[in-house]
């Protein structure tokens, strides 16, 4: 695996595609989480484009790696990846948030093939991931479990219950990724309730902690590859330093864009700016 070069351009293209789709789908809903989705676009692109063991068209393949989106409000950027794996026809995405659609602001495992666990209530996903990781011990096949957490999500006490349990039980097939975009709804995470020193916290909870530029697809890919190949005796966390709203100048680090809507004219400006970076 590691001999294969990282296809940097393909991963960048995938991240751009996610941002474009996020703009398009939020245009249907007329409101959505642009900035939270943009901060993790490269993380999702690398996980689904390089890291996770998945089979096209087989969302329930028992040996697949699991992915849980703790920050469920970024689901709009995840759905297009699942369509791209032929888990469902991509035109179904056009129903995003409309009455009866499987695709809401937060992902629903019962209605969307490829969603390994429903989310939306922050703080639950790492626990569910711990359960999946431990369950692998009773399965005939092994798999990895990847959980993407928001940095604001780390305010939830349940995350740290799960962190303790994962290291205590030696869940070496578990990787948490923190989208460290530095903002939650009411402002900077460090101003709302500080979470630093973050890597030290995870280390103190028994995790091997790694830090990476969360918009550098090559660095992300090699970090994740290293973790899958490293023989660990416990869980690992990747703190991905990101920019909330990454890719759109007026959204970057602007808490007001946690939730928003683009006028069709503004939408074109945003798409032009995004494509100019490709």
């Amino acid at each position: 695996m590691s001999d294969r070069p990282v296809d940097v351009q393909a991963l960048r293209d995938k991240a751009l595609f996610l941002r474009e789709e996020t703009v398009r789908l939020i245009g249907i809903a007329k409101t959505g989480h642009f900035a939270s989705s943009f901060s993790c676009a490269e993380i999702l692109a690398v996980l689904y484009g390089d890291t996770l063991r998945l089979r096209r068209g087989q969302p329930d393949w028992p040996e697949r790696d699991r992915f849980l989106l703790g920050k469920g409000h970024a689901a709009v950027a995840l759905y297009p990846l699942l369509a791209g794996l032929d888990f469902f026809p991509s035109d179904e995405l056009d129903s995003y948030t409309r009455l009866g659609s499987p695709f809401g602001d937060h992902p629903d495992m019962r209605r969307i093939p490829g969603i390994d666990f429903s989310s939306g209530s922050l703080g639950h996903a790492l626990s569910a991931g711990v359960g999946m990781a431990l369950a692998a011990r009773l399965q005939p096949h092994q798999y990895g479990v990847y959980v993407l957490l928001g940095d604001g999500e780390l305010h939830e006490g349940q995350v740290w219950e799960a962190a303790m349990a994962a290291s205590h039980h030696g869940a070496a097939n578990l990787v948490a990724i923190v989208d460290r975009n530095e903002y939650c709804l009411d402002g900077r995470v460090e101003d709302v309730v500080a979470i630093e020193p973050l890597a030290d916290k995870w280390s103190a909870f028994g995790w091997s902690a790694h830090e990476v530029d969360g918009h550098d697809v090559e660095a992300l890919a090699s970090t994740f590859r290293g973790l899958t190949e490293m023989r660990r005796d416990g869980p690992a966390v990747v703190i991905a330093h990101t920019v909330k709203g990454k890719g759109v100048g007026f959204m970057e680090r602007e808490p007001g864009w946690h939730l928003g809507y683009l006028d069709p004219q503004d939408e074109q400006l945003v798409l032009t700016e995004l494509r100019g970076q490709g």
């Binding site: 666990f117 349940q158 349990a165 205590h168």
Partner: protein, 343 residues
């Protein structure tokens, strides 16, 4: 236990707790038997393996026993994750911490996702006595019953629990099992209980004067109360409504058409639990029969030993008989035993 400890024999309670709790022994042993038989059962607990007896399961299946420490919410969400892989997790802790502390994890991660997690809220109701309201659960039936897709079961005794746990193996979706402190006296022999099915009430008898619909720990004292009332020439029947959801509405309708009055008995607030469920069924059926909901009357339990609390809150046989007699407008029977669980 160290030989050198200067203790009187029998004062070291942790290991002996379970000896007095046959219902909890049955839970552990039934689950271990199921695992032996190849069922995908695993057990999760939160630092209460001695209190709930699941240490007996751990001894037989250490690889299928997961200790989460005192982090109940993490345990519930983790069990939901386990269930996605085909395992059938039994998650056990005090009912107050399971159904109340973890209500949102249960709703969002277990019920909404439809996972086959079996939540076991033990020491439910006021059975933890002088531990007080933090450890009482008189809202858990209402909380879990209101979650879409959740099945809610309160077995009356060890044999009923064993039968309904076995029945759960074929049951889709999540289940909340409500059990007491494990000392509930036998209502059924294992053979009598073997045919119990989720959603089908056990009609011990329908009474012309009154039918008592009881669940869980209230079934045995309700049967005793009915016998005491019968001695006073009253025709009183009892239905064991072990499945509170989905409610056996047909059994309620049969009782409503047979009996002049109905009474529900539960170790739970009269709001939202069995009494609420039966009242809803009667109203929807348009049944013109008076109903007394007996239980905790929108109040918290006092401090006291469990048996004293049952007497105070009229949830022992004598109290149930007295409440029924008042409802029927007759003198309270004098021969109803006040003694529900021994000392």
């Amino acid at each position: 236990m160290s030989k050198s400890l200067p203790l009187q024999p029998g004062t070291w309670q942790l290991e002996s707790l379970i000896d007095q709790a046959p219902v909890l022994q049955t839970l552990a042993d039934t689950l271990a038997d199921l695992a032996d038989e190849g069922a995908p059962v695993v057990v999760c607990t939160a630092d209460l393996k001695h209190s709930n007896g699941l240490v007996r399961f751990e001894r037989r299946h250490p690889d299928r026993f997961f200790q989460f420490g005192i982090s109940e919410q993490n345990m519930v969400s983790a069990a939901a994750g386990m269930a996605t892989t085909g395992l059938e997790p039994y998650v056990a802790t005090f009912a107050s911490f399971l159904a109340l502390l973890c209500a949102e994890q249960i709703r969002t991660d277990v019920a909404y996702t439809g996972q086959r997690v079996r939540l076991v809220g033990h020491h439910a109701g006021i059975s933890l006595g002088f531990y007080g309201t933090s450890h009482h659960a008189t809202e858990d039936l209402a909380v879990t019953r209101s979650m879409a897709g959740m099945t809610v079961i309160a077995p009356a005794d060890a044999s009923a629990l064993a039968a309904l746990v076995r029945a759960a193996g074929d049951w889709p979706g999540p289940i909340y099992f409500r059990i007491g402190r494990g000392r509930e006296p036998d209502v059924y022999t294992p053979e009598q209980a073997a045919g119990m099915a989720i959603g089908s009430a056990v009609e011990h008898a329908l009474g012309g004067d009154l039918t008592i619909i009881a669940t869980g720990s209230s079934v045995h004292p309700s049967l005793e109360a009915a016998r005491a009332l019968a001695a006073d020439d009253l025709d009183v029947g009892v239905i064991d409504m072990h499945t509170v959801k989905p409610l056996d509405a047909a059994a309620v309708a049969r009782a409503a058409s047979h009996s002049r009055r109905l009474m529900t008995v539960e170790e739970h607030n009269v709001l939202g639990g069995l009494g609420g469920a039966v009242a809803e069924a009667l109203t929807e059926a348009g049944a013109p029969v008076p109903l007394l909901r007996h239980g905790m009357h929108d109040e918290y339990g006092l401090i006291g030993p469990p048996t004293h609390l049952y007497r105070h809150h009229r949830l022992d046989a004598a109290g149930i008989a007295a409440a029924a007699a008042e409802f029927l407008g007759v003198r309270s029977p004098e021969n109803a035993s006040a003694d529900l669980y021994g000392t």
